[in-house]
């Protein structure tokens, strides 16, 4: 092959410029942390998802633009649509797990129970920690069996315990629960059934009658269920629904004359989107949440000043600023950022990989002083994780819907995690036995 001199020169220049571009990309990537966003902006759950991603993106943008990244490490993110399905959730994970242009993944949020269950083993094999706030396997609290799963802050078991403790507060003490009837109207799915074991245990301990009434997906007709509620006359209803089944439950309860102020929604039945369609029927509805609604927290002031007012927010509808789901996005993003920050204390101020991200999560300690420093005091509970405890917190606040906004009516209501721990360990040990996993010793890790 004989090329004219001009062509040779052009080829050399092209190669050199490409190499330069590659090295520039690599240099840029070396100081960037990839934050994958597996989202659901379309489909049946889009109305819930859109404010969540806005909260996450606004916080990440705030960290980059106001704080200059995490100790100088800038965050980059990319979205992938899952439609809240397992198969697309796996596809997104596979696309993201190796990072973006050299920027590694330190933590991964599957954002959906189906994907969280499907990815549990895969992520462990890839050594990428999954953060599942308010969903996922409760037994993954036991980090000795589930080193890469983090059902942080409030598992479904803790949620069940917190709601019983709140009812006890209202009734005048735990001893007053004896003889009471507490019905759980639940979405008939893995998520909905998750609280059956802890509620059975607590019913035995405190002597209340534990009634379980399932609602099949999607739950847009619930006459039969609420007719049973009317017949059984429970003192309280714990509503564990999701999506459209929540407003339908609240409206059907009103139709059957059940007082709405005796219904307590769970974490996935506690958003503005759940109650907006209920009109008058929803006034007085109670809900448990680890990330209450409201835009008067310190972080909101900061984000409003630096992101919203500058026209840089991902939020298309400003009315959603401070909504429960927007705030859940903020809290989810803050946990990931703080975990990376914790990891950087050991590994240096540089982007972290999955194993380092896991170390950061297991050494995460967001105390009250830290919450105040990052502007999340009141919006988020203190959170301390370890090898043996991948949940941390275990508390929720109770909020009440007044027809236009949520009002907080309690401080943090703590779950009785000690009572629940044997149940969790029994399940995690059974899982370890089934999968042939030898639990690691947390004594040396903590």
């Amino acid at each position: 092959m004989h090329l004219p001199l001009k062509h040779k020169l052009a080829t050399v220049l092209l190669v050199l410029s490409t190499a330069n571009a590659v090295s520039n990309t690599a240099l840029a990537a070396t100081n960037e942390q990839f934050f994958p966003l597996a989202n659901y902006r379309v489909g049946a759950y889009a109305s819930s998802g859109i404010p969540v991603w806005a909260g996450m993106i606004d916080y990440l943008r705030y960290i980059n633009e106001v704080e200059g990244g995490i100790n100088g490490v800038k965050l980059v993110w990319q979205e992938c649509e899952t439609e809240w399905t397992a198969e697309k959730g796996i596809e997104c994970y596979e696309r993201f797990k190796n990072g973006l242009n050299g920027a590694p993944v330190a933590v991964y949020q599957p954002n959906g129970a189906p994907a969280a269950y499907a990815l549990a083993d895969k992520a462990a094999a890839d050594k990428i920690p999954l953060i599942t706030l308010g969903y996922g396997r409760t037994e993954a609290t036991d980090g000795s069996v589930f080193p890469y799963n983090f059902p942080v802050m409030l598992t479904f078991y803790s949620e069940a315990s917190a709601v019983i403790n709140y009812i006890a507060q209202r009734e005048g003490g735990l001893d007053r629960l004896k003889g009471k009837k507490i019905a759980t109207v639940y979405h008939d799915s893995a998520y909905g059934r998750e609280t059956q074991s802890p509620l059975a245990l607590l019913a035995e301990k405190y002597g209340f009658e534990n009634i379980q009434i399932p609602v099949a997906d999607p739950g847009n007709e619930q006459s039969a269920q609420w007719r049973q509620v009317r017949q059984l006359k429970p003192d309280w209803v714990f509503l564990r629904t999701w999506g459209v089944s929540t407003p339908v439950a609240i409206k059907t309860a009103a139709r059957f004359g059940f007082p709405v102020e005796r219904i307590i929604g769970d974490i996935w039945a506690s958003s503005d989107e759940d109650v907006l369609p209920t009109g008058e029927a929803g006034k007085g509805y109670l809900a448990l949440t680890p990330y209450p609604g409201g835009s008067e927290f310190e972080i909101h002031k900061r984000i409003k000043q630096h992101i919203l007012d500058q026209g840089k927010s991902d939020l298309k509808d400003p009315k959603s600023f401070g909504s429960v789901y927007y705030n859940s996005g903020l809290v989810n993003a803050a946990i990931a950022v703080e975990a990376i920050r914790a990891g950087q204390q050991k590994f240096g101020h540089r982007p972290l990989n999955g194993e380092e991200g896991r170390w950061g999560l297991e050494h995460l300690n967001i105390d009250e002083a830290r919450l105040k420093a990052i502007g999340f005091y009141g919006l988020m509970q203190p959170l301390k994780l370890s090898c043996s405890d991948h949940e941390g917190g275990g508390a929720a606040k109770v909020q009440q819907w007044d027809g236009s906004r949520w009002t907080l009516i309690t401080d943090w209501v703590q779950a009785d995690r000690e009572t629940l721990r044997p149940l969790i360990e029994a399940k995690s040990n059974a899982y370890a036995k089934e999968k042939g996993i030898t639990p690691r010793s947390c004594a040396s890790e903590d």
Binding site: G43, S47, V215, A216, S223, Q231, G243, K251, P277
Partner: protein, 293 residues
Amino acid sequence: MTFFLETLIGGLLAGTMYSLVALGFVLIYKASGVFNFAQGAMLLFAALTFVSLQEQGLPFALALILTVVVMALGAILIERTVLRPLVNRSQITLFMATLGLSFVIEGLAQGLMGAQVRALDLGIEDVPLFWGDVMVSQFDLVAAATAALVVTVLALLFNRTRIGVSLRAVADDTRAALSIGINLNRIWQIVWAVAGILGLVAGLLWGARQGVQFSLSLVVLKALPVLIIGGFTSIGGAIVGGLIVGAAENLAEVYIGPYIGGGITPWFAYVLAIVFLYIRPAGLFGEPAIERV
């Protein structure tokens, strides 16, 4: 006994809500022999259009009229762009076209009007009423009255108007209808427009109960067993099918559910439909297909 009666009546009334959704399918199936997969998307689009217009400050009546106009224009557009190019193609081709259409309409609805949940207040109180000891829902009574009104209007349209006769002729034999000068394109436009308006009526009632959101398009899942039981070609069948499904699933949930774990309403309707398929494949009021072989 009171509890049984209450469950039965409640189920029958709930069934009329399913019938309202099923009627849109029947209309299009009668005119073209096609199961319109896009009916749920049309229902969502109609309800979203209505609430979006109301959000702009339009009064109820004006928003309703404008939505009817939008649905009629949509029907003309669908006929021109989707159905007309597929005339004389097989029914499965038309079915697949409606499948694609459903994605387009759903995407358009959410893209143009947003994916957030909207409240819809029709001014009908959803509170309990008591007939003696038996409790019934005021909202369900309004829904049942609406279904009765819709069926009456459709019956008059089919039996007492020239359009109705043309429509029946197209349904019986499309080629014969064409040969005597019936304008098939016009008939399809009218039928799709009426199906869109039926979607609006069903969308408003379901939307008032659960909020206007994407999951409205899923209420059509309830219509399929109704159609199998009542027959795809009978308006009366859609009503009877709805009543059967509503009553059966409510009774089953209360009396069978506790023994098998509960939450059985969605699949019980389909089990019932399978039983009917064994006994009467064309449904209770459907026209059995007879072909010379």
